[in-house]
Amino acid sequence: MFKIIRSQQKQDEMLLAALTKRVMMDASVLMVRVIIKSNSYNRESLVYLFMIVLYERSQTMIQVNAMGDACPLPVVKTKNALESLTSADIIETLVDNDVAVQNLLRFAKNRGLVAKQKTLGENAFAVVIEVPASSFEESAPEGEKDAIEEYLSCSPLVCEDKPKKVVVVIASDRMGSGDDALGETLMKSFVYALTQQDRLPDTILTYNGGVKLACEGSPALNDLKEMKSRGVTIFSCGTCLNFYDLSDKLGVGESTNMYEIVAMMLEADRIVKP
């Protein structure tokens, strides 16, 4: 980071840029982070760092208002904003529910972007996604260029990591049709038997009545938790949790949206559906 300070003129430019953009709200948070990061600092270096961070932050921030938008609109709007970018930027999406926050964080993670969540108040959250400078931006600092190249070269590796991806889809709290009580018994026993396998699935997806299994009070909850502790990722449909009024009862894994459910199913090598 120090490398980009080359002259007094450059510093002045940075200062000017920082002050003329609307980034001051973040300043105190960044200041603390800077202090924590530098074990031995003097006042001068601190001020430099502070200015650099402010400068980096000063690139126009795009705000996406997704307050009151139904799932999956917040992700769609953010995705559109992201795709409209032509240079490094910061996208702040305002949402009013935790399901949307989780969806946005995962969306960013899937794209290899750094995202943070902020609670602004009751039913008011912001997800800030940092989009690093792209290679066509000639004035991009060297450090950031490196970071982008690293990211580009990493992404194919991520795909090759798990060649055989197994996804178990739990679409109901019952297994099969016929007798409901038997169906529930069978589904519980399916989840238990899953825990007993040498090779666990990579992902367990639940939707519709299946989300009940991942919620508090479910007889299968402990089995699902155990599988999660052994590395299985568990996602439940946020729309369904909301429909059954179980959004605050999710006992394991995270909630997700239809785009991600579709993506996970499409990317799976094998789907197991009891």
């Binding site: 038997l182 018994t185 026993s189 825990t195 155990e226």
Partner: protein, 78 residues
């Protein structure tokens, strides 16, 4: 890996009996859970009650008192 516990496994002659026992045990707040019968006992299908081994006598006595049928009981690491 999953830690194996010293367990008692009670089998039943029918799935209906197993489900009735589950209802009864849950009502009485007795320990354990319904599981598919381990393949080490039988290759056939069916449900069994798995509980900590020390609960064996309490569970079997409760079943007998209630007039609920069961088939056999096994002790195993599960």
């Amino acid at each position: 890996m999953k830690l194996k516990e010293d367990s008692v496994v009670i089998t039943f002659t029918s799935t209906t009996d197993a489900m009735a026992a589950e209802l009864f045990f849950n009502k009485k707040a007795l320990r354990g859970r319904l599981i598919p019968v381990p393949t080490s006992i039988t290759a056939g299908c069916g449900m069994a009650w798995k509980a900590p081994a020390e609960d064996r006598d309490e569970l079997l006595t409760a079943l007998r008192r209630e007039g609920l049928r069961y088939d056999k009981d096994y002790r195993m690491l599960l």
